[in-house]
Amino acid sequence: MGLAKRIIPCLDVDNGRVVKGVNFVDIRDAGDPVEISRRYNEQGADEITFLDITATHEERDTTVHTVEAIAAEVFIPLTVGGGIRKVEDIREMLNAGADKVSINSAAIREPEFVQRAAERFGSQCIVVAIDAKRVAGDTPRWEIFTHGGRKPTGIDAVEWAVRMADYGAGEILLTSMDRDGTRDGFDLAVTRAITDAVSIPVIASGGVGNLEHLAEGVLEGGADAVLAASIFHFGEYTVQQAKEHMASRGIEMRL
């Protein structure tokens, strides 16, 4: 008996529609984030992460309405990320029904933003997202990249995670930019390096192609939670199947 590891399906949402290819057989409106969240909830998802990839400010209203609609009927934790730049953005998303917000580039522009956000809203709702990429060299090292992995920042990912935890982040969402979209599995080395370096929970993300990858994230990477998008969106696996597989590998799960 103890704390279960979590599975977090992730929705990439653009102007109110889930993108990255969604193919649920029974769902008429395949791209509706509310319907997909409901489905994941029924399958036993432990949390849901909603990444707003909307470009324009006007479309933010759509995001707020979508978050409200999900929060009105899905009673598991909901994290919203994408475009969180100011304290007002956090307040807006929490008021819409999000439980946590994920901060990425705004933290790189101004690390103290994380501090202010944690002081104002509490660490429990501040997730810092880190997009890490391995850099060449003899010893393993990962650097933070922005702009979808195109722009290096020179910041060491492990040191950054430690700093963000010190600044009051409640959780780290770690995405390997080398693995994202490859279906080759998590970058277990960076996952392990960061989980060992910080005392807050770490969510592994980027590269999941099968259920064993999820188990590896926990067993080898030491992650507290695993996040995946496409393996669930394409209907290849249900969240329930993923949890059963992880449990069969000896991982404590909420079944």
Binding site: E73, F75, P201
Partner: protein
């Protein structure tokens, strides 16, 4: 007519608990710290997130302590404390260098610790965040229809340790055993977030909406 007041002392997001109550059919859910408003409700939720010192300061500034005493001891209506709302009921918390709390339930709120480990020496992350099991240690109407050992969603770094063990309604385990639920007369309080705990949490909230305040 089920009318629920969620006591709002400005700490944290009360949207989730209000929307869960509406989802379960509560006719009226008001989020307020106005005694006149809360006086109209037939049951009360006492939530809370964030640091205990700030919570206690706001509870006292807005006189929510008096309000709580009134609903608990004069009006005798059902009250559900959630998370820091539960912790604030105890006598004292170790958080923020030590903070005196409401002392409505004898006991201490303790820190899991910076280098928290389980019995095997494995390091445990703090906060305790995620789904953990709750062992029901009392028969109580709020546990009705919830299997013993069900998992609920927790987010906390401090935990309640009640002095009067007869009040403990549920126990959790995270490296150390802790009090996950307490019950006394018309008061029930939980460390976890029922509004975020899927079916088990919704069942508990539904039970609360139907509870007459008797153990």
């Amino acid at each position: 007519m089920t009318s629920v007041a969620v006591i709002d002392y400005g700490m944290g997001n009360l949207h989730s608990v209000a929307s869960a109550l509406k989802h379960l059919g509560a006719q009226r859910v008001l989020v307020s710290h106005d005694p006149a408003q809360i006086g109209k409700a037939d049951r009360v939720i006492f939530p809370g997130v964030g640091a205990i010192r700030d919570c206690m300061a706001e509870i006292r500034r807005l006189e929510c302590d008096q309000l709580l005493l009134d609903v608990l001891e004069s009006r005798h209506i059902p009250v559900l404390g959630i998370c820091v709302g539960m912790q604030s009921l105890l006598a004292h918390s170790e958080e923020n260098g030590g903070v005196d709390c409401l002392d409505l339930v004898k006991g201490e709120v303790r820190y899991f610790g910076d280098d928290h480990r389980d019995a095997d020496g494995t390091r445990l992350k703090v906060p305790h965040m995620g789904w953990n099991q709750v062992q029901q240690t009392l028969d109580h109407p709020l546990w009705q229809g919830i299997e013993n050992g069900s998992r609920f969603y927790f987010v906390h770094s401090y935990y309640a340790d009640c002095a009067d063990r007869s009040l403990v309604a549920g126990r959790g385990d995270y490296g150390v055993g802790f009090d996950a639920a307490i019950a006394r007369d018309n008061l029930f309080a939980v460390q976890f977030h029922p509004e975020k705990s899927a079916d088990a949490g919704l069942t508990l909230l539904r039970n609360f909406l139907h509870w007459n305040g008797q153990a």
